[in-house]
């Protein structure tokens, strides 16, 4: 059977990967504080997830870009931007933008909520499935920055242009906050607690 380091009174420094006994408070190699498990990992993760979920509403409802063509300003939200891309026959780009700015943040939040709920209410989910969900979340996480990068490039391109102007809208700030909060949420979750629950149940 598998033995966790915690059962043997050992712990690992997350920074430099040094093993040590549980009594030591600081790592002797890199001088950082070492915890057997990241303290309050679930609470922190819930806080970030809830904040990010709330932020999804202004991020998707408020305009993320303001296009000014021939005077009249045109407000675009994430979704209306995707729809106008489809209308302009750029379906491929529309899919990329849709996946990066809507599917990825929502998937991250749903994934983290599923993992945490399944741990807290002892649902039937394999530990292997939980870690696979977490690793997918970890890999796709940074791709939600895509729309903000595109925005910054478009702004730079149309800087000295009298006919077409591109500017950021208030939704951009909300969307940026959602992206950062989801990144922090994934980072604050200590994957080692997935296997701890199994030890308690036995």
């Amino acid at each position: 059977m598998y033995t966790s380091a915690k059962q043997m009174g050992l712990k690992l420094c997350r920074h430099c990967k040094l093993s040590m006994s549980e009594e030591q408070t600081h790592c002797q190699r890199c001088h950082m504080r070492v915890h057997t498990r990241a303290p309050n990992s679930l609470q922190k993760c819930w806080a970030f997830v809830i904040a990010a979920t709330v932020g999804l509403f202004p991020a998707n409802l408020m305009p993320i870009t303001v296009l000014s063509t021939r005077g009249a300003p045109q407000y675009e939200t994430i979704m209306s931007g995707v729809i106008s891309l489809i209308k302009d026959d750029m379906v491929g780009i529309a899919i990329v933008v849709f996946v990066a700015s809507i599917v990825v943040p929502v998937m991250k939040l749903v994934g983290l909520i599923v993992i945490m709920l399944s741990l807290q209410f002892k649902m039937n989910l394999d530990n292997r499935q939980r870690i696979v969900i977490y690793r997918i979340i970890d890999i796709i996480g940074k791709w939600s920055m895509l729309d903000l990068f595109v925005l910054s490039i478009m702004i730079a391109v149309f800087e000295r242009n009298n006919l077409v102007g591109v500017e950021a809208g208030p939704g951009a700030t909300a969307f940026g906050a959602v992206v950062l909060l989801t990144l922090f949420a994934a980072k604050s979750f200590d994957t080692r607690i997935i296997w701890d629950k199994q030890l308690e149940q036995r």
Partner: protein, 206 residues
């Protein structure tokens, strides 16, 4: 447990499993955690001097990418060009601080700082001299890996490019090729960074 026994055991950072590395680890082999399939160690070790060379090349390429424009085009007689920093400067000027800082950190500050730190730590460790602030540099180096998003930036650039094609004729700038080369090299560089290896060497020279 004695430290000599501890060194033969390895703990999986992802699932906290105790793994007997002595039985598994052979040169050229990859050690994978049997419980969560996390890669614990790669057998072939990168030399610090080659890491330094790679990081220095990355640093030069990313600096060039920021001095040349990524693209230039003419729209109704108005010439225009774009580089990485210009967009974030405009975002900050218009009061979008959160977006501006997020973009500038992920596309500019994090990669440059990361490559500089790897240069610094790798050179110091390969030469065996104890550079000032080496421990701090090593800590920052591991954190920055997650914040460098060059690959996302390049895909974003392609998205912007396709959107722009309908407006005007576009000339791709040298900056774009530099950033693509940076991506290729930095992927290899980051792949070969093993924090434990750097810290082991750090203890030796201390």
């Amino acid at each position: 447990m004695k430290s000599s026994e501890l060194s033969k055991l390895s703990i999986c950072p992802s699932c906290d499993l105790l793994v007997d590395t002595h039985a598994h680890c052979r040169a050229g082999k990859v050690l994978i955690c049997p419980r969560c399939k996390h890669t614990l160690a790669r057998g072939n070790r990168a030399r610090f001097s080659s890491q330094f060379a790679l990081a220095l090349t990355c640093l030069i390429m990313v600096s060039l990418a920021n001095t040349y424009p990524l693209l230039s085009f003419t729209f109704l007689g108005i010439p225009s060009s774009a580089n990485i920093l210009r967009g974030t400067v405009l975002l900050l000027e218009h009061g979008y601080y959160l977006v501006g800082f997020a973009v500038v950190i992920a596309s500019f500050i994090a990669p440059i700082l990361l490559f500089s730190l790897i240069c610094y730590t790798s050179l110091s460790l390969s030469k065996g001299w104890k550079a000032p602030g080496l421990a701090t540099a090593l800590h920052f180096q591991d954190d920055l890996i997650h914040w460098s998003m060059i690959e996302v930036y390049i895909v974003s650039f392609l998205v912007a490019l396709v959107k722009l094609v309908e407006y005007a004729d576009i000339d791709l700038g040298y900056g774009l090729w530099c950033i693509c080369i940076t991506l290729l090299l930095s992927t290899r560089l980051i792949q070969r960074i093993e924090p434990a290896e750097y810290w082991e060497r750090y203890v030796h020279i201390r």
